[in-house]
């Protein structure tokens, strides 16, 4: 097949290597800034089965870096939009799109269907969920993360190597790391980091010896400087995860100390909901609901009197990060019946079209 000719003529790949690529199954979590280039290169390379999971929809502000999408993909689910583009790029492979959030309930089953998990998410909660589910299912993770002009890449849980928790044992304090809506990014940076992740995936598939396991590679796109940190395996961190395996799919398993998360599909359990939109007034899309008040996060305390003490409070933002901080703030002010919506405003609008 001429499609893979440039792989096959490489002596380190050859037809044998290309067959390994064709037989590989890779799950990419998140089809955003990192996920798009990862998916694009793995699809072009001919990875036999690619899964993509993302509950989010394509927004105009994504197009500056999320290169699988065009204006025709706006308002559609990212996993489904990615699948459409990837099937055109390479119709000889299988692409499975999962239009849902990764949760403790679906992670283990999903991971078991793939050989390699790629972390292209944008929040700590999902990163720790991926780490723990990959330890339990014994799958390697190709990790990437960005902050403004900097990126980190590593391979975790590979051939008995260290995990993400061996580097950062627990999620950072709420509010100590800025959320995605507050932080800008030059579009090419996730392209660089995501492409490095795709490269690590192929190295694992091909059995190369230089896989980035036990090391955190850091790149600064402004200074072009790199820094490589050695990561030691911590058996106690890995054992802690394994000891919680039985509780993994239940509420008892807490990634981020907050069990006060709610999903859109849970909302029918509550009667009498007051929605609080903690986004800034300029943020799109606008959510128009009768039982919704918009109070930007930094005004929450000064406007706390507007929050119902009798209703169930469901707080949302763009991606479930600020809403979680809001729940904590309300708890400190003795408003205990509040939940953070794990999906963002765009998902609410989708849901509104059908039910609610």
């Amino acid at each position: 097949m001429s499609r893979y000719n440039r792989h096959i003529i490489l002596s380190d790949v050859g037809q044998e290597g290309q067959n390994k690529i064709s037989n590989a199954k890779v799950l990419v979590v998140g089809a955003g800034g990192l996920g798009c280039p990862i998916l694009q290169y793995l699809t072009a390379a001919g990875v036999g089965a690619i899964g993509v999971i993302d509950f989010d929809t394509v927004e105009e502000s994504n197009l500056q870096r999320q290169i699988l999408f065009g204006t025709s993909s706006l308002k559609t689910n990212k996993a489904l939009a990615a699948k459409e583009r990837l099937e055109d790029l390479n119709p000889t492979i299988e692409v499975h799109a999962y239009n849902e959030a990764l949760t403790p309930q679906n992670a283990l089953k999903l991971f078991n269907d793939y050989d390699i998990i790629v972390d292209g998410t944008d929040n700590f909660e999902t990163r720790y969920l991926i780490n723990d589910a990959a330890i339990i299912t014994n799958k390697p993770i190709v990790y990437g993360a960005i902050y403004k002009f900097e990126g980190q890449v590593s391979v975790f849980n590979y051939k008995n190597g260290p995990s993400y928790r061996c580097l950062f044992p627990s999620p950072p304090k709420e509010g100590s790391v800025a959320n995605c809506s507050e932080v800008g990014v030059l579009g090419v940076l996730p392209g660089i980091i995501g492409t490095l992740q795709a490269n690590e995936v192929l190295k694992i598939i091909l059995g190369f010896t230089g896989v980035l396991s036990g090391k955190l590679f850091c790149y600064n796109s402004k200074t072009s400087e790199t820094y490589t940190l050695k990561i030691k395996k911590s058996d106690s961190e890995i054992d802690k995860v394994l000891s919680r395996e039985e509780k993994f799919q239940t509420q008892e398993f807490n990634f981020n100390c907050s069990s006060k998360n709610a999903s859109l599909k849970d909302l029918n359990k509550f009667e009498n909901i007051q929605f609080i939109d903690v986004r800034e007034f300029h943020e799109e899309p606008k959510v128009e609901l009768n039982n919704c008040v918009q109070i930007p996060l930094h005004n929450l305390i000064s406007r706390i009197g507007e929050i119902s003490t009798t209703k169930t409070i469901v707080i949302f933002c763009q991606s479930g990060i600020r809403s979680k901080t809001a729940v904590e703030i309300l708890e400190k002010h003795n408003i205990l019946n509040s939940f953070s919506l794990i999906e963002g405003a765009a998902a609410i609008i989708e849901q509104l079209k059908t039910s609610l």
């Binding site: 944008d122 403004k148 900097e150 580097l167 790391v177 932080v183 996730p190 955190l216 820094y227 050695k230």
Partner: protein, 77 residues
């Protein structure tokens, strides 16, 4: 000892530089952190790991190598 300290991500925003030389006469990582907290008070609220010569070190470790880095976790994607 004259240390060369690298700062990453939002730690570099707190210190307002990616790298600096820092004169340090005590011995432990925890003592270095106390001095950095005096120079950069908001650093105390941040999450980060300290590396010496490209390896993570605990607060009780002795500083024996001038190459230090403060690395926060990143979540963006």
């Amino acid at each position: 000892m004259q240390l060369q300290i690298k700062y990453f991500g939002l730690i570099a925003e707190v210190t307002n530089c990616g790298e600096e030389t820092f004169e340090f006469s005590k011995s432990q990582v925890s003592e270095l952190l106390e001095e950095l907290y005096v120079k950069y008070p908001s650093l105390r609220q941040k999450d980060f790991k300290v590396a010496q010569n490209h390896e993570i070190v605990s607060n009780e470790s002795n500083i024996t190598n001038p190459e230090i880095a403060l690395l926060p976790p990143f979540s963006g994607g």
